[in-house]
Amino acid sequence: MASLLSATSAVHSRNGQSCLPIHSSEGQATIPVRFDGTNLSIGFSTDPTANIIDGSSIDHGITKAPYERSFSPYEFNGGTTLAISGPDYAVVAADTRLSSGYEILSRNVSKLHPLTDRCVLGSAGCKTDVDQLRSVLDIKMKVYQHNHRKPMATPSVAQMLGNTLYMKRFFPYYSFNVLAGIDSEGKGAVYSYDAIGSFERTPFSASGSGQSFLIPLMDNVISHKNRCDERRDLPVEEVVEIVKDAFLTAGERDIYTGDAVEIKIITSEGIRTEMFNLKAD
């Protein structure tokens, strides 16, 4: 006999009614359950008119206990992005894998999108929302260019992205962004965002499925926390090597990260791209 304790601990609540989740190819589905002594598998019940779900008929009892299906507008397509800022450069990297559930949809999809010559947006999350967000931002950048006759500076792009995300506060873009670029003084700038547009300028930023593997490592190596040795400024080549090491780590331990890493190095001269292969498992 199945343990009642283990069964009740697996129960969730939907609309106030206890339900057991079941696997369904169409998404989430649940069966409502009631623990009141009438449907235990002991074989008797105190109330002769109790609603015992009889699973012996051809439809497995579904017409007696209909379950609800629900549609979720969001899907998580996986991936990790990482951005690091330096005194005169910014490095942003993202893996190139697109996944859905346990399947890989593509090994060669870019998560980085240059908005200007000095500014790159990296986004992980739901690909369709990311694509739509990019389209909206591109249009706004063009409008700004036509109105002001110059490309948008990185801090302004950061503010605009924050506002764009907040405009969809009650049905957000499922997009976890990092923005990397060179600000008007020539220093590297990295901004981290949440899904509804709250942002902050930070020395580094990681988002996506592998963020919890990367953030503590960056704390130690880039922000130099919990270390006894002297802090020194890191040159851009060393930071790129650190980024590659970080993605090797994330690729090992996160199933959604892998295949290849696209690294963009932004300096006042422009944007340079590098590709680095990861394990394809």
């Binding site: 976890f176 593997f213 704390d219 970080a246 090992e252 331990r253």
Partner: protein, 310 residues
């Protein structure tokens, strides 16, 4: 910042990932994390000291592996069955205490049965960490329907017989016969052919015993997971996987191993509010002696790592 996204996702997509889930998950309710790393002839295990009830921190007692009283209030509960093995677990503190009692009693009875309580100079047979891990898995699976909500980590050094050039030689009958006797294997093991069951030519080779690191972690039902590099358990295990994976390299030794293990541990704990308040690293080290690794050459050293109190 991140919490805002997650609360939104609950509203829109009915995912139940939120701060309340941490509270309803028994293995994460009291907090705590453990990281163990393997080096050359040594292992290091790092444990934290936080004991909390959800978000509220109750106490931060540092661990103390005193043989008289194993649990001086440290919620990670260190057990030292031998000088070459160390057990610790994260999870629900109450279950941790109960499981520690059950393990201690059974380990003591097994050692006693193997004649370990004699002090007449005869060699005491130390229990292999692998055997202790099997015992632990058995005890956890015994409670399959109402488990102990603990996530144990076992680290130790096991005595193995290898050829002088370092390659493993465990399959020949000579090696099995040599391992069955007590460790007097430094001379050429030219066993007389009457000892070996298989009719093979007598191969002469020099052997030595080494102390090989053994790392094992388990889920609450006893499913083991071993590694040659590192294992971790507890609330910060995702962060620990990231830092340890990046910072570990083979053939670390002694204080360098403690430094790397401590660094990976403290960096990961900084980003987790359910563990922290101090880190202690235990290094189990086997001295490299000319007459081969004796159990008496294994020692455990305690290092306190300074970390911010949060």
């Amino acid at each position: 910042m991140r919490a805002v996204i997650t609360t939104l996702l609950i509203v829109v997509s009915f995912l139940s990932i939120c701060a309340a889930q941490q509270r309803s998950d028994p293995t994460k309710f009291n907090g705590g994390s453990i990281l163990a790393m393997a080096g050359r002839n040594s292992v290091a295990i790092a444990i934290d000291s936080r004991f909390g009830l959800g978000m509220q921190t109750i106490s931060t007692t540092a661990p103390s592996p005193d043989e008289d009283d194993n649990n001086h209030g440290n919620p990670r509960i260190l057990l030292l069955p031998n000088s070459n093995t160390l057990l610790a677990w994260t999870g629900l503190y109450g279950d941790g205490l109960g499981f520690a009692d059950e393990m201690s009693v059974l380990l003591a009875s097994k050692v006693r049965r193997a004649g370990g309580m004699r002090f007449d100079g005869s060699t005491r047979k130390t229990m292999n960490p692998r055997a202790i891990a099997m015992l632990m898995s058995h005890l956890l699976y015994r409670r399959r329907n109402a488990p102990y909500y603990v996530e144990p980590v076992i680290v130790g050094l096991e005595t193995v017989l290898v050829k002088e050039d370092g390659l493993m030689e465990m399959q020949t009958t000579k090696a099995i016969a040599a391992a069955a006797t007590t460790n007097t294997n430094e001379e050429e093991s030219s066993q007389p052919s009457s000892l070996s069951k298989a009719p093979e030519a007598t191969i002469r080779y020099k052997t030595k015993t080494i102390q090989r690191p053994y790392l094992c972690t388990s889920d609450m039902l006893g499913a083991q997971s071993t590694s040659h590099s590192f294992v971790c358990s507890g609330v910060a295990s995702r962060s620990l996987h990231g830092t340890a994976e990046a910072l570990w390299r083979p053939n670390l030794e002694g204080e360098e191993l403690v430094d790397i293990c401590g660094r990976a541990f403290v960096s990961a704990l900084e980003r987790d509010c359910y563990s922290g308040y101090g880190a202690v690293v235990y290094l189990i080290q086997a001295k490299e002696t000319t007459d081969g690794g004796n159990e008496s050459d294994v020692c455990i050293v305690e290092y306190c790592i300074s970390s911010r109190n949060d």
